[in-house]
């Protein structure tokens, strides 16, 4: 990829404030003057304090929420500003979104939830079904296919919602703290799986996390967001070469310096 190539996703001077409500102060800007871009095939990690607008940012990129000012361009196509009716959520299945809440359909079983995107896209066949079953096994949900979401643990629901996005293979995936509620072992396992998958298909991934170690271990680049109104407080190219050994990443000589400089910016 040459330096002159258009970035896949460009966010420039983005601003967002929510509609006010009677009896409250005038709405404040949640995001203001936020700019960055993402290249095709890049693994971008975003880190920022709670309430800094990370979810809001992903919602605007996925076009389920509308920006108030500035610009978001995906494949050179600008997203509408200020007009929720003109939104195209998921940009016709090109952007997958693993949301912070699992958003599983409570009346559908694990398997039905995972197959849901394929079903509504009319792509349910033996091959995609087999692929779904492979994914279910890979994230350790085998044997829970017929369970309803309320019969799964928080971490299991999270894994189910993760593979619901992976199953239809969107070229870009947004992930909002997907491994938050998992135990250390499962977490590392899934991080490794995700990296392997990314290495295979070279998807573009924007990955939001609270965990500095995770941001370094996974990303090509890490953006640090400031407290609201969110701007880019820092940008770090992760120099640690791939393939990476996640379990041993802390031992890498660059890890310590990266960790320190990122931590200094996250408040």
């Amino acid at each position: 990829m040459t330096a002159a190539a258009e970035p896949l996703l460009e966010v420039r001077d983005l601003g967002k404030r929510f509609a006010g409500r009677a009896g409250r102060d005038a709405p404040a800007w949640v995001i203001q003057g936020l700019s960055f871009s993402v290249n095709e095939g890049e693994f971008l990690t975003i880190i920022g304090p709670s309430g800094s607008g990370k979810t809001t940012l992903l919602n605007m990129i996925a076009q389920i929420d509308v920006a108030s000012s500035g610009m978001v361009r995906f494949q050179s196509q600008p997203a509408p500003i200020g007009d929720p009716k003109a939104l195209n959520p998921g940009l016709t299945c090109k952007i997958g979104y693993v949301t912070q809440e699992d958003n599983l359909l409570p009346w559908r079983t694990t398997l039905q939830n995972v197959l849901f995107p394929l079903k509504v896209q009319g792509r349910l066949n033996d091959e995609t079904r087999a692929h779904a079953e492979t994914l279910i096994k890979a994230v350790g949900l085998a044997g829970f296919e017929k369970h309803y979401p309320h019969e799964l643990s928080g971490g299991m629901r999270k894994r189910a919602s993760l593979i619901r996005t992976l199953v239809y293979d969107p070229p870009v995936i947004l992930m909002d703290e997907p491994f938050g509620p998992l135990d250390a072992q499962t977490r590392v396992q899934l991080q490794e799986d995700l990296l392997r998958l990314w290495n295979l298909g070279r998807k573009t991934i924007i990955f939001v996390t609270h965990d500095i170690g995770e941001a370094i271990a996974l990303g090509d680049r890490t953006l640090v967001l400031s407290r609201a109104p969110a701007r880019v407080a820092g940008e770090h190219v992760i120099t640690i070469p791939r393939p990476r050994d996640i379990r041993g990443i802390m031992g890498h000589p660059d890890f310590g310096t990266l960790y320190q400089s990122i931590r200094a910016q996250v408040q």
Binding site: A62, I64, G90, C93, N103, L105, P117, V120, Q121, Y148
Partner: protein, 272 residues
Amino acid sequence: MSTTQSALDLAEPTPVRWRQYAVTVGRILLALLLLAGWKVGADVAGPLYAADPVKVARRIIEDTASGTLLRHIYVTLRLATIGFAIGCGFGVVLPFLLRRLPRLTAAVEPYIMASVGVPKYALVPLFILWFGIDDAPKLWLVGLLVFYPVFIAVFAGIRNVDRRLINMARVVGASEAAISREVVWNSLLPFFFASLRIALPRAISAAIIAEFLVGNEGLGFLIENSRQNFDTTGVFAGVVVSTAVVLVINGVLVRLDRYFNAWRPVDRDMDI
């Protein structure tokens, strides 16, 4: 046995089957008590004002054997079913259409809500005036009485749908029709069933009342006609049969509700 062991034994749930039996036995006793009360009350009131359970049972058996009772039940059920289908259909479809038209909804909502307050039974004379004395005025009454609870529940249900689920479905490429079918419909099923608990018995009652006023068949006609002939046993038999019909329909409804909402934790673990 060590103390920890006995503590564990105590923690084991004791069998609770006798409690279930206790409920059943209690229910039977209560039914017998009510029947006895009915019998005593009927004897005190005299045959002009009340019929005792034995006479009523005998009458029901006789009328069933002759086939007239089944005919009346059929006529009433047919009326209630068609009226219900119309009212329920509009009650479900209209909120789905309004979902897509928020401005129209805001405009018409106060009028719809105000029309809830119109006493529908008071409109029957008008319906007769407008639609004649065949099925039409009766269907209007049943349909309207069914429409309101269903419409209000489905309307509220649609407002309650989790936006995040709709967004998720949009992102993965679901069409608006697929979202209505999968996300919206399933979210409001509990609301819909709650409204049916009101609407179905209402459909039967409305059909019976409509038959008091118009026509010469049906359970309503049976009751009213018996009253005019001073046949109190016939009135009581009609009321008992009507109640039985409503109970059967409710039973079917509860089953359907359990089936469609089987995924819910509450419906399985609680016996309502």
